[in-house]
Amino acid sequence: MSRKKLLVIVGILGLGLAAVSFVGGSVGAIITGREPLSVFRVASPHVELAAGKPFPGFPVTNTMIAAWVTVLVLLVLFFIATRRMKLVPSGLQNLVEFLCETASGFMEDIAGKENERRFFPVVLTIFLFVLLNAWIGLIPGFETIRVNGVPLLRSANTDINVPLMLALVAVTAVEYWGFRARKVSYLKTFLDFGEMGQGFVQLLRGRIETGLGGILRGIIAAFVGVLEILSHLVRVVSFTFRLFGNMMAGVILTGVMIFIVPLVIPSVFYGLEAFLGLVQALIFGGLTLVFGYAAVTAAEQ
């Protein structure tokens, strides 16, 4: 009972704070015609798709610095966790083992034990990189600490180059796995002229009907191959813009919410963003895994 009461009190207080910050903030100021209270004055959000370069003259972007932070965090985490591995794990070793085991189980369920070994490093690294990029972007200071008028740090996922880079890595890995597993038969999914050739052979032997039929089917097969090539190229685009769009939208949404209601409500969106980051990381890693599995298994239905 008292727990419930406490929850209600906290809820009311939160809503009150939100209401006060809304009325006292920039939007409230426009409605009431007053100046916004100084504590609630938030710079109006302005969307900047390209990553900024905080140090003029240096080609290092703020997203690159953020990516380095992500890389460093991951490396340090794994370094500390695997420095003195014990058979009975403790501390960070538990965390890392949990990560690896969960990921490994997930991949094994989808792609089987054989493929899991091959897919594991790329898929898990993509997942961790995307996840940490998203979560690190939620730390206060990102987007707000400015050097030379440019944010010093910005979530790497919101830089189109990063999703594009990840997409290319993922698709390249998928094509590599497919080719390694199936060699020439994998290339046949894209360039299938076997039937057309058979058709021409039949035609030369004088069997005009079967020959023409073969050529016709060959043309269809070749066209299917072209479609396959296109679909694989489209994967790069969809990978890129799914991640970029979601992350950018998250940043913009949070910025707008902070501008409208400076208190309480943005916290909810922060939680949402954290969840969204996890989902996007799962989607990126999961799709890489599924495409990879589709590539290594024969496509015949």
Partner: protein, 168 residues
């Protein structure tokens, strides 16, 4: 300003990602996976070992039970044997004792008989002497002891006294 595509940034990000991928693969995932594998092997081994131990224990238990049963059976047989032996011994002892007793009784009886006979003879002689003496006194002359003894003994034999001495 556009969407921000930039070759330098792209390459920079690619390089940092590939470094991350390489380092994590060789210094992160590999030891962790090796450890996980080792642990699962260890657990499987110890479980198999426990299983083997349990089986061994069960086997030993049945073996012990079998042995105990055999020992019990043996003990029972020994007890039965011992009982028989005891019976035999007692029987032997009893018959020996009986024989001994009989022997003692017989011997004693023979000795008694001998004794009685001697006493009877003694008495008879003394009685005869006394009779001869008495008769001599009465007649006034000394009777010839040897001569008359026969006579007296004959008379004694015929008397009840002698018969009493003879018959027991």
């Amino acid at each position: 300003m556009g969407i921000g595509l930039d070759l330098a940034t792209f390459i920079g990000q690619l390089v940092s990602f590939l470094i991350l991928l390489g380092l994590l693969t060789y210094f992160g995932y590999k030891p962790v996976r090796r450890m996980l594998e080792e642990r699962s092997n260890r657990i499987r081994e110890s479980m198999e070992q426990a299983d083997a131990t349990r089986k061994e224990y069960e086997r030993a238990e049945t073996e012990a039970e079998r042995r105990i049963n055999r020992a019990r059976e043996e003990a029972r047989l020994i007890v039965v044997e011992a009982g028989k032996f005891r019976d035999k011994l007692m029987e032997e002892a009893r018959s020996e004792a009986r024989q001994e007793t009989h022997a003692i009784i017989d011997r004693t009886r023979a000795e008694l008989e001998q004794e009685r006979r001697e006493i009877a003879d003694e008495l008879r002689r003394e009685f005869a002497d006394a009779a001869v003496l008495a008769a001599g006194k009465i007649i006034g002359e000394s009777l010839d002891r040897e001569k008359h003894r026969k006579l007296i003994e004959q008379a004694l034999d015929e008397s009840a006294f002698s018969r009493e001495l003879e018959g027991h």
